[in-house]
């Protein structure tokens, strides 16, 4: 005997910007199809943000977040989690239980221009900007150590 319980869940999906640039609606629909495939009822599915990641994930330094609120049977969660992990366009996903859906989730989604997504800035382009002040610092440090050593000798 299986226990049938329907609960409300919140899922934050981090989508690959390389896929998002091909079009927002197709990747959104294909991601939401994972939930409906397992019998979940989508309450809200909207773009949360497009931002720079705190650390590189699969070579990507930026990503688009899709926030989904859905109600599903507790038995369906394992299948949803598994399909999200298998989907290559989903870099990360976080599925947690939600007490109530916030009112902001039902508001219409803002216009999203996929062509306005900034390109991933490679770490090599940032290196010279950081390295320039670092070159000055060692010379000052050497001078400082020399002065202290002379003071010590005198």
């Amino acid at each position: 005997m299986t226990l049938q319980r329907t609960r409300t869940y919140e899922c934050m999906c981090l989508l690959d910007n390389r896929e998002v640039r091909n079009g927002w609606q197709p990747i959104k629909d294909s991601t939401l199809a994972i939930f409906t495939k397992h019998g979940a009822k989508i309450l809200s599915g909207r773009r949360w943000d497009e931002r720079r990641l705190a650390y590189t994930i699969k070579g990507q330094q930026r990503g688009t977040y899709l926030l989904v609120y859905f109600s599903a049977d507790t038995q369906a969660l394992a299948g949803i989690r598994r399909d999200l992990q298998f989907r290559e366009s989903v870099l990360r996903s976080l599925l947690i239980e939600c007490v109530e859906v916030p009112q902001a989730a039902y508001e219409p989604e803002a216009e999203f221009d996929v062509n306005a997504i900034p390109a991933d800035d490679a770490p090599a382009s940032e290196a010279p900007a950081v390295a320039a002040p670092a070159e000055v610092a060692p010379t000052e440090a050497v001078v400082a150590t020399e002065t202290t050593s002379t003071e010590t000798n005198s």
Partner: protein, 95 residues
Amino acid sequence: MSAPSSIPGGGANGGSRDGGQRRSKFGRFGARRREVLPEEPLDYKNIAYLSKFVSANGRIQSRKRTGFSGQNQRMLAEAIKRARIVGLMPFVGRM
């Protein structure tokens, strides 16, 4: 010559030397702290607020620093860990 009746700083029944008001054994550390309530919801999406409770190395601050209750401290730690998983906050270092 008789020994002093009370040993300074020792014994629960020792004589009081400050006019009958007993001082705490642990000094100021034993004082009751007032519980601090979170000003904003402890949600993993609220990165700006969660970043206040993370050190320069990315470590979650202790209850002694945050002043939160046990329940709120657990919610804070859980929210920060969730934010780390989805790439909103770093595991090590500051954003």
